[in-house]
C-alpha cells in the first residue's frame, strides 16, 4: 500500500488530476456566463478518486459507470475533453450528440456506461455489466461509482445482493464526500462506516483515503486484481470531499467555513505535489509547465466545443428506437 510509484506515473497522475480540476473550473465559468444551462455538478476536490481508480483498471476494457457528477471520469478514461465540453454545450459533436448534457456523458468506445441522473439508478446497471462478464467468462471487472447518499437507495441494496449471490466481478465504489446535496450523510445513514453495508451481503469491503492518489491507486490495484481473479464483488468506501456546493447554483451554506477550509487543506493536488517534490519526481518549476500544458488543453477543448455546430432538428427523432 505504501509502495512507491515511478516518477513517470506520478507526473501522469498529476497532469490528469490537474486537467480534471482546470476543466471543471472553466466549466464553472462557462455556466456562470450562461454558455449552457441545466444542472452543473462539479467534481472539484474528488479528482484523486477518478485517477486512482481508473488507472487501476484496464481502460477501455473494464466497464465503468457513474452518477451525474460525471465530467471527469470519461476524460480520465480517455475521452477527448473537447468532446466532453461539446456535450455540455449541447453540440452535435458532443459525446451524446447534445442529447445528454452535463449529467449524461457516455462513451461506448471507452466502455464508459454513462453518467446517470437518477440517484442510485446506475448501481443495478453495474451488476448487469458484471453479469455479462461472468456470462462470457471474461477476465474483466465492472466499476461502479456512486455517492454516499445514493447508498441509501433501495436499488443499491438490491444490486449488491444480486452481485453477492451470483459472484459478479463488481467493484461498488461509494465516493463518500460526506453530503447528499445539503444533507450530511450522518443524518441519513445509521452507520458511520459506509463500507460496513457490505456485511449485510456477506461481501468483501474496504476503506480508502481518497485524497492520497498514490494510496488510492495502490489499494485499488489490489482490489481490482483480486476481483478479477475471484469474481467476487466488493464494496469500497473512498473518503473524499467536494470543495464546491452540490451544484454550481448551491452556495453550500450548510457547511461551516472552518469545515471547508480544513478539508481543503488536504487537497489531493497539493498532497501529490508534495510527494513528487519529496521523491524528486518533479522540480518546483516543472509545475508551472504542467499548468501551461493543461491550460492549452483546456483552451483547445473549449474552442472546439464553442466552434462546433448545434444539432439539426432532424436529430430529434434519431435514436428513439434502433
Amino acid at each position: 500500500m505504501t509502495q512507491k510509484l515511478s516518477n513517470q506515473l506520478l507526473v501522469a497522475f498529476y497532469k490528469e488530476m490537474l486537467l480534471g480540476r482546470r476543466l471543471e473550473e472553466r466549466i464553472g465559468q462557462l455556466y456562470v456566463q450562461q454558455k449552457f444551462s441545466g444542472f452543473c455538478h462539479l467534481y472539484i476536490g474528488q479528482e484523486a478518486v477518478s485517477t486512482g481508480c481508473l488507472n487501476a483498471i484496464r481502460k477501455g476494457q473494464d466497464y465503468v459507470i457513474t452518477g451525474y457528477r460525471d465530467h471527469v471520469a470519461p476524460v480520465v478514461l480517455g475521452m477527448d475533453p473537447g468532446v466532453m465540453i461539446a456535450e455540455l454545450l449541447g453540440k452535435v459533436t458532443g459525446c451524446a450528440r447534445g442529447k445528454g448534457g452535463s449529467m449524461h456523458m457516455f462513451s461506448e468506445k471507452h466502455r464508459f456506461m454513462g453518467g446517470h441522473g437518477i440517484v442510485g439508478g446506475q448501481v443495478p446497471l453495474a451488476a448487469g455489466a458484471g453479469w455479462k462478464i461472468k456470462y462470457n467468462k471474461e477476465d474483466l471487472v465492472s466499476l461502479c461509482f456512486l455517492g454516499d447518499a445514493a447508498s441509501n437507495q433501495g436499488q443499491f441494496h438490491e444490486a449488491l445482493n444480486m452481485a453477492a449471490i451470483w459472484d459478479l466481478p463488481c467493484i461498488f465504489i461509494i465516493e463518500n464526500n460526506k453530503y447528499g446535496m445539503g444533507t450530511a450523510i450522518s443524518r441519513t445513514c445509521s452507520l458511520s462506516n459506509l463500507s460496513d453495508r457490505a456485511k449485510a451481503y456477506n461481501m468483501r469491503q474496504a476503506v480508502v483515503d481518497g485524497r492520497n492518489v498514490v494510496n488510492t491507486y495502490n489499494q485499488m490495484k489490489e482490489i481490482v486484481e483480486e476481483t478479477r481473479k475471484t469474481s467476487k464483488p466488493i464494496l469500497v468506501e473512498i473518503q473524499t470531499y467536494r470543495f464546491r456546493g452540490h451544484s454550481v447554483s448551491d452556495p453550500g451554506n450548510y457547511r461551516t467555513k472552518e469545515e471547508v477550509e480544513k478539508e481543503r487543506s488536504r487537497d489531493c493536488l497539493v498532497l501529490l505535489k508534495e510527494t513528487m517534490l519529496a521523491q524528486k519526481a518533479a522540480k518546483e518549476d516543472d509545475f508551472e509547465k504542467f499548468e501551461e500544458e493543461i491550460a492549452d488543453k483546456v483552451d483547445a477543448a473549449v474552442a472546439f466545443a464553442e466552434d462546433s455546430p448545434e444539432p439539426e432538428l432532424d436529430e430529434l427523432y434519431k435514436h428513439v428506437l434502433v
Binding site: 449524461h104 441522473g117 430529434l316
Partner: protein
C-alpha cells in the same frame, strides 16, 4: 389579498393545515434544514420542529411507503418528491399500495396522504429530469390528481388535498415556483374536481393545465388580434375531472383543442377527447385536435428541447385546423 409566489402559496397552505391539524407532517429529501430543494418548505422546520418537517434519506420508495403506512395508522403525511421524475422509483408504493389500499381492505384502510412536487420539463435537464407523469398516473383508479401552477388555486387545492381522506397527488412546476399572483388570506379552499374558465371565448375551447395554461393564454391573446376568440378551460384537477365545464364550453364553441405537456400517446388529452366525442358528438363542428410533446425522450440541447415541447405555432395551427382556417 396578498401577492404570493406559487412556492409561498403552497407553503402557506401546508403551514396553515399543520397548525390546524397536528396529525399532518411533511417529509422528503431536503425539506427541513435546506428549506426544500426549491424552497417550498422555507421556514417550516423552525415553525414545526423536526418531528413534523422531516429530512428523509434519498429513498423514494422507502419514504413514500412510510407515508402509506403512517396514513393507514391515522397520520396525514405530505410527502415531497424533489421532482416527480424521482417519484417514479416510488410508483410501486403509489400504485400498488396507496391507490388500492382502501379497495383491497374492503374500505377498512384509508390512505389520507398528499404526494407533491414539481413535474415536467424545466430547462436543459435532459431525459431523466424532464418527464410529465400525468398520463402515467391518471389511469390508476384510487388516486386524486391535481395539476396547477396558479398560486391561489394551489393554496386552495392544497388545503383540500390535505383534508381529503384519499391519496392526492399534486403536480407542480419547478420553473414557476417564483411566479406570483393574488392569493386570498386564511381559509381559502378550492374544491377538488372543479375546473375553471380561465378566459371566456366563443370560437374554440382550449383545454390546458399546469404550465400549458400560460402558453394557452399567450396563444389566445395572439389569436384575438386575428379576430379568433379562444375560451380557455383549466380543469385544475385531472382526477376526478370536471367534465361538465368542458362539455359546456364545447357546446358553446363547437370546437376543441387539448394542449398538454407530456407525450401524446394514450395521454390524458386522449381521455378528454374521448369523453367530448362521446358526450358532445352532435355539437362538434370539427374533429378535436391535440397538441403534445413530440414522442421522443427530452433532448438536452436547448433548441431541440423547445421543439419537443408544445409551441405557440403548433397550438395556433391546431386551433386553425379546427376552425378550418
Amino acid at each position: 389579498m396578498a401577492i404570493l409566489t406559487l412556492r409561498e402559496a403552497l407553503n402557506q397552505a401546508m403551514s396553515e393545515e399543520m397548525e390546524r391539524d397536528p396529525s399532518v407532517f411533511l417529509m422528503g429529501e431536503e425539506v427541513a434544514e435546506y428549506d426544500g430543494a426549491y424552497k417550498v418548505s422555507k421556514g417550516m422546520l423552525a415553525k414545526f420542529g423536526p418531528m413534523r418537517v422531516v429530512d428523509s434519506p434519498i429513498s423514494e420508495a422507502g419514504f413514500a411507503g412510510l407515508g402509506v403506512g403512517a396514513a393507514m395508522c391515522g397520520l396525514r403525511p405530505i410527502i415531497e418528491m424533489m421532482t416527480w421524475n424521482f417519484a417514479i422509483q416510488a410508483f410501486d408504493q403509489i400504485i400498488n399500495h396507496a391507490a388500492k389500499m382502501l379497495y383491497m381492505s374492503g374500505g377498512q384502510y384509508k390512505v389520507p396522504m398528499v404526494i407533491r412536487g414539481p413535474h415536467g420539463a424545466a430547462h436543459m435537464l435532459s431525459a431523466q429530469h424532464s418527464q410529465c407523469v400525468d398520463h402515467m398516473l391518471v389511469n390508476c383508479p384510487g388516486l386524486k390528481i391535481i395539476s396547477t401552477i396558479d398560486p391561489a388555486d394551489a393554496k386552495g387545492l392544497m388545503k383540500s388535498a390535505i383534508r381529503d381522506d384519499n391519496t392526492v397527488l399534486f403536480l407542480e412546476s419547478e420553473m414557476l415556483y417564483g411566479r406570483s399572483g393574488e392569493v386570498p388570506d386564511g381559509e381559502h379552499i378550492v374544491p377538488i374536481g372543479v375546473g375553471v374558465v380561465k378566459r371566456p371565448g366563443s370560437d374554440v375551447t382550449l383545454v390546458a393545465w399546469n404550465k400549458m395554461v400560460l402558453l394557452a393564454q399567450d396563444v389566445a391573446t395572439e389569436l384575438e388580434k386575428e379576430g379568433i376568440s379562444v375560451e380557455i378551460i383549466d380543469p385544475r384537477t385531472l382526477m376526478p375531472l370536471d367534465e361538465e365545464i368542458i362539455f359546456n364550453s364545447v357546446r358553446k364553441t363547437n370546437r376543441l383543442v387539448v394542449l398538454e405537456e407530456g407525450w401524446g400517446v394514450a395521454s390524458f388529452g386522449c381521455h378528454i377527447v374521448d369523453r367530448v366525442v362521446k358526450e358532445c358528438f352532435d355539437d362538434l363542428d370539427a374533429p378535436p385536435e391535440r397538441v403534445t410533446n413530440l414522442f421522443v425522450p427530452m433532448p438536452y440541447n436547448e433548441r431541440l428541447e423547445h421543439e419537443v415541447m408544445p409551441t405557440a405555432e403548433r397550438t395556433i395551427a391546431a386551433i386553425k385546423a379546427v376552425l378550418y382556417k
